[in-house]
Symmetry: C2
Subunit: 355 residues, 2 copies
């Protein structure tokens, strides 16, 4: 019963986000949320923004938020764009920089949403295989293309590309926009923000959903040459001029300003990640070195799908992707130490009982 | 310097929203915001939603919000879609229901954003002229088309179409989706929500930015046949699965539940509208009967553009559209009684001093 659907929508496979189960007691390690709360200053700033002013449209350009980002990242405010989550900004990129008939490149194993955007907006894409060790081969991206999207660190592998390799890639693709999705960069790897003044074809995307504990607030940023930012503004003003509400703007500003709490929780997550990587390897799991807030792991003989289902029965949610090359891996978000201990005990228990 | 822009973005003219001036003392009657604050219960609900839970992604389907809307409007929750403002939902409609090459219809004088969406998504459109008195002629919409968008009440004219005429229009266009944009319906006119069970081609759009005093929060709803709602969900899940943040969901629920404050302020606005219409007509202005929270008005010999500029010099912001047929009208949002008195005195002063 879809006689009124557009042809695009009839044919498309939308993105499927990780489950947001509503049950009470569960360990949720499936959508790379931060196990620690937003900083108290962020919550205070949001409460303070709940005023009668909400009757007015928000600042469409998020001026104060962009100024706060400018101070933190050392990029002029005019070179920063704020949106309703980085997913929205990525979608806007497809209308801003690519036309139907264009061919863009991204790795064969990466954030699944890139191919959905391409399908929605009729942009062709070619996937570039990661190496056997799930590394991005920068040199493979220097062929003919109309754009490149790279998640760095990559998801769901958790691996990073060096800044040197990234620069070579950007340099050898001056004909096209290179979008670096730095959703996980605060957990490891080198940011390409420092390359923005040198390359007018570089756009760096950030999200507040992972390292800043604000998935529920919906904030993302794009940084790059002013002309690229202008294109994003044009797309936004053809869809919804006011994408970021007053309260989200206030919370995002406070988040950028509270560097102390931010560093503290990043430190805890990376410490837990190190400990858990070690434990799991000691228990014979293959765990990829992670620069993110998740681990990509597999077991020498138990199938990932079986592990995923067995964990789910114990109310432990992790992510499993039934996709070529990674269908024997689990992607496990780094939770609190307590959550990770529950996960660890559970998975060891499953392994033991399957022998 | 737009070598990286897509062809679509190079050629397009984005929507230009009314100014959001940041100056201190001014009378802002230019973007149809509500002069009264959101209900205290709405503010309380939002503050209560500012919690550690913000580290988690919001409910993508806004289930509780849709249930609250279901209770108020008597439409099943599965037939309701929530988005980040009605503009976003309208944009989604273009991907959901129309393909490039399709031709849709809307009036020649209506919300300017409709043609921007069409241009962005490559959908053709034909405008149907309003009558000399700025009425929608429903019968003119029964020609061959792939979709219809009608604002009811219409903006910026402020006029409504009767439910009977609307039903005839929907009935004679069963081949296509008919989108009724009811942004201003709470201020007057008959809602077409009651027709939803009868017509699977009807989609009704609502916003919280006008009657609900929540322009700064960004909430819109779409209501219609389940298949139409499913198409909108598919588009959303190809762009950004989590469009409405936790705090906005909480505020929107409280707004739908507090019918008392809502009716009280609607009553005040319509009373001010009546009084001001009378005063302005007594002062020789031509004022269209309004079913909205704005007045469309012209003066017998002073040009609207000159009035607009003279008001602006007095820090009174109204809207002027340099477009055929309406370029001698001002669109003036109904503010508080105090604001309207300032506006009234100022415009009379301008008229007097121009004699």
């Amino acid at each position: 019963m879809n006689k009124y659907w557009s042809e695009t929508i009839k044919g498309i496979t939308p993105y499927v986000p990780g489950e947001q189960p509503r049950a009470g007691r569960l360990v949720k390690l499936n959508t790379n949320e931060n196990p620690y709360p937003p900083s108290p200053e962020v919550l205070e700033a949001m409460k303070a923004a709940v005023t009668d002013k909400l009757r007015l449209y928000p600042d469409p350009n998020c001026s104060r938020l962009r100024e706060a980002a400018s101070r933190l990242y050392g990029i002029p405010a005019e070179q920063i764009f704020a949106g309703n989550g980085s997913d929205e900004i990525l979608a806007f990129c497809f209308k801003a920089f690519f036309d139907p008939g264009d061919t863009i490149l991204f790795p064969d194993i990466t954030y699944n949403f890139y191919e959905v955007y391409a399908d929605l907006f009729g942009v062709s894409y070619r996937t570039v295989p990661l190496t056997e060790n799930f590394e991005v081969s920068a040199s493979e991206f220097s062929s003919d293309n109309d754009g490149i999207i790279l998640a760095n660190p990559n998801a769901p592998t958790g691996k990073t590309l060096s800044l040197e390799d990234l620069e070579t890639l950007i340099q050898s693709n001056r004909q096209a926009v290179v979008i670096i999705d730095e959703a996980y960069i605060d957990f490891g790897g080198e940011s390409s923000i420092g390359l923005i003044p040198k390359y007018d074809n570089l756009l760096v995307i950030r999200t507040f959903s992972k390292s800043r504990s604000l998935a529920g607030l919906r904030i993302g940023l794009a940084m790059g040459n002013r002309s690229l930012i202008e294109a994003l503004i044009r797309v936004r003003d053809c869809i919804n001029c006011f994408t970021v509400d007053w309260i989200a703007q206030a919370g995002a500003i406070a988040s950028l300003e509270d560097t102390g709490t931010f560093s503290h929780y990043i430190g805890r997550i990376t410490a837990t990640r190190g400990r858990m990587t070690e434990y799991l390897r000691d228990a014979d799991f293959h765990v990829i070195d992670s620069s993110t807030n998740f681990l990509m792991m597999s077991h020498p003989f138990l199938r990932a799908k079986a592990l995923y289902e067995a964990l789910r029965e114990k109310n432990i949610f992790v992510r499993y992707f039934p996709k070529p090359r990674i269908d024997n891996y689990l992607r496990v978000t780094i939770g609190t130490d307590e959550e990770m201990d529950i996960f660890y005990d559970a998975i060891l228990d499953i392994v033991k009982n399957t022998h």
